[in-house]
């Protein structure tokens, strides 16, 4: 369901990815590992089509990077969830509003929004904090809110870019447990990380990337 065919990408004359090919199957959990600047985040950006390959092709479900039109990109993004190291929450909105925002932006009706937001906040254990602003909750809780927002549209995959990078060991484990739970329900996870300890604790397929090339998978 996600396929990279000989993908190369240059940014400002610098080769970020070189001839990258891999497949990620339905319900799979995989890590993309490699040093900083290796191209991990770029692979995720190529999947949610924030950038496009110079050569090769990325296929995400029925969408191809070679054929997708600008107006189709929002619909692709509704089929996947994205989580970042810095959470990317709206600071002037409550936990509830941050999660509900993803549904409002996609035109879901108010009645359904309430029901779904409450359910997903319970799922990631932040329902108690729903009326608080992001600055009033801990880093671990913020990342749970970001995960809640990523899964609220029932995506087939969650893309996580260093989701534990700003968290301590305890919070990192809790976040990983949430990803494990989500994955057990059938949602694929593709996580960019360089935290070897977590990979050892939660072993899954590892796609190793160095200087823009896949060196093992």
């Amino acid at each position: 369901m996600i396929e990279f065919y000989n993908v190369s990408l240059n940014i400002d004359g610098k080769a970020i990815l070189k001839n990258v090919s891999f497949r990620l199957f339905k319900g799979e959990f995989a890590y993309i590992v490699g040093p900083s600047g290796a191209g991990k985040s770029t692979i995720l950006r190529l999947i949610y089509m924030d950038t496009f390959p110079d050569q090769g092709m990325v296929i995400v479900n029925n969408y191809s990077s070679a054929k997708i039109r600008a107006h189709e990109i929002p619909y692709l993004r509704r089929e996947l969830g994205v989580v970042f190291q810095d959470f990317k929450l709206l600071p002037d909105r409550t936990v509830y509003e941050n999660v509900a925002f993803a549904l409002r932006a996609t035109g879901v009706k108010a009645k359904e929004i309430r029901h779904r937001v409450v359910r997903v906040l319970n799922e990631v254990n932040v329902a108690q904090q729903r009326s608080k602003l992001p600055e009033q909750i801990s880093g671990g809780e913020r990342q749970r809110v970001a995960i809640a927002r990523a899964i609220i549209n029932n995506p087939f995959i969650v893309l996580a870019d260093e989701p534990t990078g700003n968290l301590d060991a305890q919070n990192s484990r809790e976040i990983m447990e949430i990803f494990e739970r989500i994955n057990r329900k059938g949602t694929a996870i593709l996580m960019a990380t360089h935290d070897q300890l977590l990979i050892d604790q939660y072993p899954h397929r590892v796609i190793k990337i160095e200087e823009g090339r896949i060196v093992s998978q």
Binding site: A70, H71, I73, Y75, K88, A102, A105, T106, N153
Partner: protein, 286 residues
């Protein structure tokens, strides 16, 4: 997609940057007041010019001693000329009566005879109430037998024809400049607002909001800037017109259409400027 959500977001955004909102609305108000006053000035000049043209008379003097029957032939010929609306014949006797009314003296008593020639007073159709048409008409009539002279307010007509168009052009040009200035001001304000909220836009994109959905709150915000600016400008113009009527010139006219135009221009400025800024920003992103 929920339009209500977009409107709510637009209104929320409107209250977020209060100083920027105040400065932008003030600038829009000032520009729209000027535009409104220009429109009213143009309307009043137009009315004044219209009145002058409407009462414009061309007087065709006939040879003294012309008989009534001969004069009627001229009257008939004048009526057949293109652009002539009415022709009124002034006999020598009536000319003497008009002289007495105007100067308080009986010309017959003063001179012992009535030297005033009979004449025809022409009123023209609106399309012919200009210096060029009247000059052409006068040239034709002067060649007729029995016509001694053709007189009309040449100087006034020349002034009207030459300067009024120039005044309209100046008013229109200044109005256009002010419109552009107001649009640029709102455009800049919205650009700053968009920049301040680039994170929100990024998140909207990430969760799959369409371009139209992302744009809408900013359009609402821009329209609000324009509408509030337009409404305030209307109130100020209305007060200014009241003061001018009471203290300067009571015959000044105003109409509701001017107020509607000012409000509509405000909304249009807000819409166009926010549309430009949002599109520019989104084109960079998507």
């Amino acid at each position: 997609m929920s339009l209500g959500f977009s409107i709510k977001e637009g209104i929320k955004g409107f209250g977020r940057a209060r100083m920027a909102t105040f400065v932008t609305i003030t600038s829009v108000v000032l520009a729209l007041i000027m535009i409104g006053l220009f429109i009213l000035l143009a309307i009043n000049i137009d009315r004044w010019v219209g009145e002058k043209r409407k009462h414009l008379e061309v007087e065709v003097f006939l040879e003294p001693g012309f008989t009534e029957a001969q004069a009627q032939k001229i009257v008939q010929k004048l009526k057949e000329l293109p652009g002539v609306r009415t022709v009124r014949y002034i006999s020598q006797e009536e000319a003497a009566r008009r002289f007495k009314k105007e100067f308080g003296r009986d010309v017959q008593e003063v001179l012992g005879t009535n030297p005033l020639p009979p004449s025809c007073i022409l009123r023209l159709q609106p399309a012919y109430q200009n210096a060029e048409s009247i000059k052409r008409l006068s040239r034709i009539v002067r060649t007729w037998d029995g016509v001694s002279d053709v007189v009309y307010g040449q100087e006034l007509l020349k002034v009207i024809d030459r300067y009024v168009t120039l005044i309209y052009l100046i008013i229109g040009g200044l109005g256009l400049v002010l419109l552009i200035v107001a649009t640029v001001l709102v455009h800049n304000a919205i650009r700053l607002i968009i920049y301040a909220r680039h994170e929100t836009i990024e998140i909207m994109k990430l969760v799959g909001a369409t371009r139209a959905f992302i744009r809408r709150p900013f359009l609402v915000e821009g329209i609000l800037y324009g509408a509030i600016g337009g409404a305030i400008a209307d109130v100020v113009i209305w007060i200014l017109m009241g003061v001018m009527k009471n203290w300067v010139y009571a015959d000044i006219i105003q109409n509701w259409q001017t107020y509607a135009i000012v409000l509509a221009l405000g909304i249009l400025i807000g819409f166009i400027s926010s549309e430009l800024s949002v599109n520019k920003y989104l084109n960079k992103l998507i």
